[in-house]
Point group: C2
Chain length 179, copies 2
């Protein structure tokens, strides 16, 4: 539970009377992982979305679906939504966009006319491969200066953060007797 060996001071800017510090304690941007995480993610996804749109005419969502259908061909809407962790509505719209561009097709599965199994067309697979080359190149640029050891550490940390997110909100951090 509360294995919080981390002190609040690690994340705060405390007033010390100088001009550099505020008059009241507040969050440090540079030392708070949550701030850095959202900064980095927002700027990256924004730039990536523009890039995908300019080069290939599809959004970041559609690219994720290309990867998803390459990874697990025959996925349904709800399965894809659960795997990527986004809303099924967005997945449904994305798949229909891909279908409209003939990048993906749906084949009925069983007698249930809704449960469709989706897969990429040949042109969808070709586009996937083209974008994949860009994505890999860009990711390598993003990781420029990282050694393989550092890379593994980073991915490990991010995975641990991901696992912790669920528990960070369940109880509600208010519980602790502040105020």
């Amino acid at each position: 539970m509360t294995d919080s060996d981390l002190s609040d001071d690690l994340f705060l800017i405390l007033p010390d009377g100088s001009d550099e510090t505020p008059e009241r304690a507040t969050l440090s941007f540079r030392r708070s992982p949550t701030v850095l995480l959202t900064f980095a993610s927002n700027r990256f996804t924004r730039a990536a979305a523009r890039d995908y749109q300019d080069r290939f005419g599809l959004g970041a969502m559609d690219w994720r679906m290309l990867v998803m259908l390459t990874r697990e061909p025959g996925s349904t809407v709800s399965h894809a939504a659960r795997t990527i962790g986004i809303d099924k509505a967005a997945v449904s719209r994305s798949l229909h966009r891909l279908q409209q561009r003939q990048l993906a097709t749906a084949t009925a599965e069983g007698r249930d006319s809704r449960r469709k199994s989706w897969q990429l067309t040949d042109s969808g697979r070709a586009l996937h491969d083209r974008i994949l080359a860009h994505a890999l190149e860009r990711q390598k640029r993003l990781l420029s200066g990282f050694s393989e050891t550092e890379l593994r550490a980073l991915t490990g940390y991010l995975a641990r953060l991901l696992e912790n997110i669920d528990g960070a909100f369940d109880d509600g951090p208010a519980g602790a007797g502040d105020q």
Copy 2:
């Protein structure tokens, strides 16, 4: 330039004929920092936004502005926008929301009626302190299991990613003669 000592295989799932792997090489979700980064950030910001809204009636944007104005009282719209790295339009709207709730006030600065210097009111500072306690608690939960050494490594990695983002898109990874 290409100090990319990192192999593509680090980020890919390659087909090996088994059932676990796809028939075509594609991005690994668990080993790609960009994927993990956006996953973690999206899920965290979404949950945090809900939390802020439910508990305090303001969005994540407004909370960031509370921190910003605590950090540097007297900031202008454009200065805050540059510091946080988001659009000045969003900052302008957020500040007016705060003003409407009497959490922040603007005082004219010089004769330019547009350049206003913003600061928090007493109730704004009080709300900042209340939310700060929650944010710290939640961040500690998110970092549950991290040692102080690991924390420093993580923040350092994220800062390096942030610095690399600009260069990752400038030239355009497409450099090779498409377009």
